[in-house]
């Protein structure tokens, strides 16, 4: 899952370039009580969060301090977790716990033998409180290493209620209905969708939602592992379905060319900015953050979402991602780290951040009432009820050359597809060629 990384990138690719790699800073050391279980120990936790997210995570850390007496220190790694953590391990200064933002990185850590499997207590908690899919994404080679603490929901279509009212439409339930809704919005004089085609990752997310719904979770898993080729009939079909939307110039703000020069924040601005140029924008739950912080929209009133609708014959997709907590072998305070993960697995810890906002927990036991606002509650509910059919972002599971590089692989090929969606089969063939090359390397 690359939500944060992507947000930074989207925020300003150049700024991220300049700052992203170097943004490592030590968080404040919280005061700890001396008399409790881990009094006097300092637990160091590394993660990609910074800014508001870091502040909210600090609240969780403080709750842990209060409970156990262990001091905590948070280190923000910036975008490149694996490099930072790797160099810290080599330098003999390994953090005790790392909040890993992507499945691929978790697997990489496990394969390098950096991780301690979760304790029996945590494993039991995961078994009881989480849908099995989260256990799967936290396991490597049959061993459970990662505890998913924070999740993202990437199957939300955000719309401006004002535009829907003007067009006289209601949130659609199926993909076909969504196209009709889009048609009506466009009839009212407002282009229907803002598509952030300049950022390739938004296009991969579009595709993944359609594919997950249309081809089903099993095929999705196999495609994510590249066990079936991208030339598979299901891929061509999903591209054709997506092409119906992408090919229709009047449904996309600025047409295909305009979409290709719109980045992610730009696409949110087109819907929720001061001069609306589109009625809907598809992306994950983090759209709310941009709409609220940058454009001052009241979430739930001026900016609402509907779940990404099901494509005919399938179930509504829930594409997700998350940050998993892992314990490093080289950390100095193994016991405190284990206790910290046990704490993170409790609904109590999730509730701390849920109250603060900007957070979804995959923990079933967390009372939905703990969430700060209704929109968040709805997203959380959708994530929990999706249960085992939740799937992680496919492009994040792929090698970076295919699923995560500007101007290359899936990003570039889907951008070309947006430019000219007339030949899904050829696009599938190009995707397969790029995937074959990337998975081989």
């Amino acid at each position: 899952m690359m939500t944060r990384r992507r947000m930074t990138m989207a925020g300003c690719c150049a700024l991220a370039l300049a700052l992203g790699a170097t943004a490592c800073g030590g968080g404040p050391v919280s005061a700890g009580g001396g008399s409790k279980e881990f009094g006097g120990q300092t637990l160091s936790v590394a993660g990609v969060w910074s800014g508001a997210e870091q502040k909210n995570f600090q609240k969780v850390l403080d709750a842990f301090t209060e409970k156990t007496g262990a001091k905590t220190q948070y280190v923000s790694t910036g975008d490149n977790v694996s490099t930072v953590v790797g160099s810290k391990i080599e330098g003999g200064n390994a953090p005790d716990v790392v909040m890993v933002p992507q499945v691929g990185v978790l697997q990489q850590f496990a394969k390098k033998n950096w991780l301690t499997p979760l304790s029996a207590t945590t494993q039991k908690a995961v078994g009881a409180n989480y849908a099995p899919v989260w256990k799967e994404y936290g396991s490597v080679g049959g061993k459970l290493y990662g505890l998913y603490f924070k999740a993202a929901h990437k199957s939300t279509v955000w719309y401006s209620p004002e535009a829907f009212e003007q067009a006289g439409v209601k949130p659609p339930k199926t993909y076909e209905e969504m196209l009709r809704t889009a048609q009506a919005v466009s009839d009212s004089g407002l282009p229907a969708f803002a598509v952030a085609g300049e950022d390739g990752w938004t296009l991969t997310d579009w595709f993944e939602n359609v594919y997950l719904s249309q081809a089903g979770p099993e095929k999705y898993d196999r495609l994510a592992k590249h066990e079936i080729p991208w030339t598979d009939a299901t891929v061509v079909k999903a591209l054709t379905t997506l092409g119906k939307l992408f090919a229709d110039k009047k449904l996309i703000a600025g047409g295909q060319k305009g979409a290709l020069s719109t980045d992610f924040p730009g696409s949110v601005e087109k819907v929720f900015g001061p001069e609306p140029e589109a009625g809907m924008v598809y992306e994950g739950d983090f759209v709310a953050g941009v709409a609220k912080d940058q454009f001052g929209r009241k979430i739930g009133e001026e900016a609402r979402f509907f779940p990404f609708p099901a494509v005919t014959g399938g179930k509504a997709p829930v594409v997700s991602g998350g940050d998993a907590a892992v314990v490093l072998k080289d950390g100095r305070n193994q016991k405190a780290a284990t206790a910290f993960l046990e704490f993170l697995a409790t609904p109590e810890a999730a509730a701390v951040w849920a109250r603060a906002g900007g957070f979804l927990s995959p923990n079933k036991k967390l009372d939905l009432a703990s969430y700060g606002d209704d929109t968040l509650r709805e997203t959380a509910k959708s994530l929990i009820t999706a249960g085992d059919s939740v799937r992680f972002d496919m492009s994040d599971q792929a090698p970076a050359a295919f699923g995560g590089t500007k101007g290359m692989g899936e990003w570039k090929i889907l951008q070309d597809f947006l430019r000219d969606p007339s030949d899904p089969a050829a696009t599938a063939a190009r995707l397969e060629a790029a995937a074959a090359k990337a998975y081989k390397g």
Partner: protein
């Protein structure tokens, strides 16, 4: 370095031991002085070069020897070919333009009053980092005229001469009796004849685009020998309107040009009124087609797509020119000031025009300086990276790529294939070497 290559003296005669010792001491001292530089060069230049050459024969993980496979792979990849083509464009165009511009500016600057201030101004971009310059130009080239200053200017100039249409986003509702021609105009599907009333429904007009004076649509009832009707917005705000029917809340679209056509020729023209109505009077009996010319719907001029696949390389070269013109100008200017004035004066005395002086005297005398500037820029251009990486947006990155960016992308930026990346690096080195050799030889010659 030259110290080492100078002969260390003829073999000293036996018994001349003091002389030999002095000789040896001199050698040791020379070596001691050269050693740090040698070590640095060895560690920072020679070793990486050799390592890259070696690395290019191994696969991505660096554990398997693949021979020339990386080189074959490199030339199979269309991205490399694009990179080579773009690099060639860069090497030919950028140094030539820069040297030319620098020369012209240097000569002109000599003749203006505020020469120093002017030079300073032109040299200023050199002080801006490539990253910052890249961001500046990325913004300037932005396609949306509200954001990119260049397109704002282009669109401003264009719109000053050509008025935009009133309903650029309007389109007819499908299947309601209007057909769109390829040129963007609309015609009624069926024939109409005098006495008929036609209603032409359009959608896709934002409420803000409908003129404030527009009234609810009211089709003209056509009398005998007349053809009438209305052009209206077939959309009820809030929904509930029936397609193809003039509903109560639906407004007319005023100011639309409507033509009555017979046998493919316009016989009457009308403009719709505030309620969208129009009327053609005194038409001979027969069948007509009502046509709405494309001018009603012409999309607004959107400016130049600077960062599109076609223009992205020239656009980035433009940014590069902005940065380096000052450098070329100052260097050539220095050469110019050391020219023998008497040669110029003599030519002028003999009645040569300024152009002839420039062409026959200044340029030939400046040739050595121009060559230095040109060659330096060629080497510089070969390694251009940051500007391209920052200015080219994701979708056209591959169209703008040059060897240096391609090398980075392949080895670190996602490809993670340092074997292939090294092969690209070696190719880049091979291409730079001729320029280097040329420069070194020129340098030697000028020293001797």
């Amino acid at each position: 370095m030259t110290t080492l290559t100078t002969p260390v003296g003829a073999a000293p005669a036996r018994g001349a031991s003091p002389r030999r010792r002095a000789e040896r001491r001199r050698r040791i001292i020379a070596l001691a002085f050269v050693l740090p530089a040698l070590l640095l060069l060895g560690a920072l230049v020679v070793h990486p070069v050799l390592f890259s050459v070696g690395r290019s024969f191994f696969d991505a993980s660096g554990s398997r020897f693949v021979g020339g496979e990386n080189y074959a792979e490199m030339f199979r990849d269309p991205a490399t070919l694009t990179a080579i083509r773009n690099s060639a464009i860069w090497v030919v165009v950028a140094p030539t333009l820069l040297t030319g511009l620098g020369l012209i500016l240097a000569v002109l600057v000599e003749k203006v009053r505020w020469a120093t201030a002017f030079k300073l101004l032109l040299f200023m971009p050199m002080a801006v980092s490539f990253l910052a310059a890249g961001i500046i130009f990325r913004l300037a080239y932005e396609e949306d005229p509200d954001k990119g200053v260049l397109n704002a200017a282009v669109v401003g100039v264009h719109d000053a001469f050509k008025e935009s249409s009133s309903y650029p986003t309007a389109r007819a509702r499908e299947g309601q009796g209007l057909d769109r021609a390829p040129d963007g105009s609309y015609r009624t599907t069926g024939a109409v004849s005098p006495g008929d009333t036609v209603t032409l429904g359009f959608v896709g007009v934002p409420p803000a685009d409908v003129p404030a004076g527009a009234k609810p649509a009211a089709p003209v009832r056509a009398g005998a020998g007349e053809l009438g009707g209305a052009v209206y917005l077939d959309f009820t705000p809030g929904g509930g309107g029936r397609p193809g029917v003039v509903d109560a809340a639906e407004r007319g679209l005023p100011g639309m040009t409507v033509e009555a056509e017979r046998d493919g020729r316009a016989v009457a023209t009308a403009t719709t009124a505030a309620d969208g109505s129009f009327r053609f009077g005194e038409l001979a009996a027969g069948s007509y087609t009502v046509r709405l010319p494309a001018a009603n719907f012409a999309p607004p001029y959107e400016g130049v797509s600077w960062l599109g696949p076609a223009l992205v390389t020239p656009a980035i070269i433009g940014a590069y020119l902005w940065i380096w013109t000052g450098f070329a100008m100052v260097l050539i200017g220095a050469g110019l000031s050391s020219l023998p004035r008497d040669a110029l004066e003599a030519a002028r005395m003999d009645g040569a025009s300024e152009w002839q002086v420039f062409r026959r005297i200044t340029v030939p005398l400046l040739a050595p300086v121009l060559t230095v500037v040109f060659v330096t820029l060629v080497i510089n251009v070969m390694k251009v990276f940051d500007l391209i990486y920052i200015i080219a947006p994701g979708p056209v990155q591959e169209d703008a790529t040059v060897l240096a960016t391609q090398m980075w992308l392949v080895s670190f930026g996602g490809g993670n294939n340092q074997g292939l990346g090294s092969a690209l690096g070696v190719l880049l080195l091979l291409l730079v070497i001729p320029a280097m050799v040329f420069n070194v030889r020129r340098f030697r010659r000028s020293q001797s």
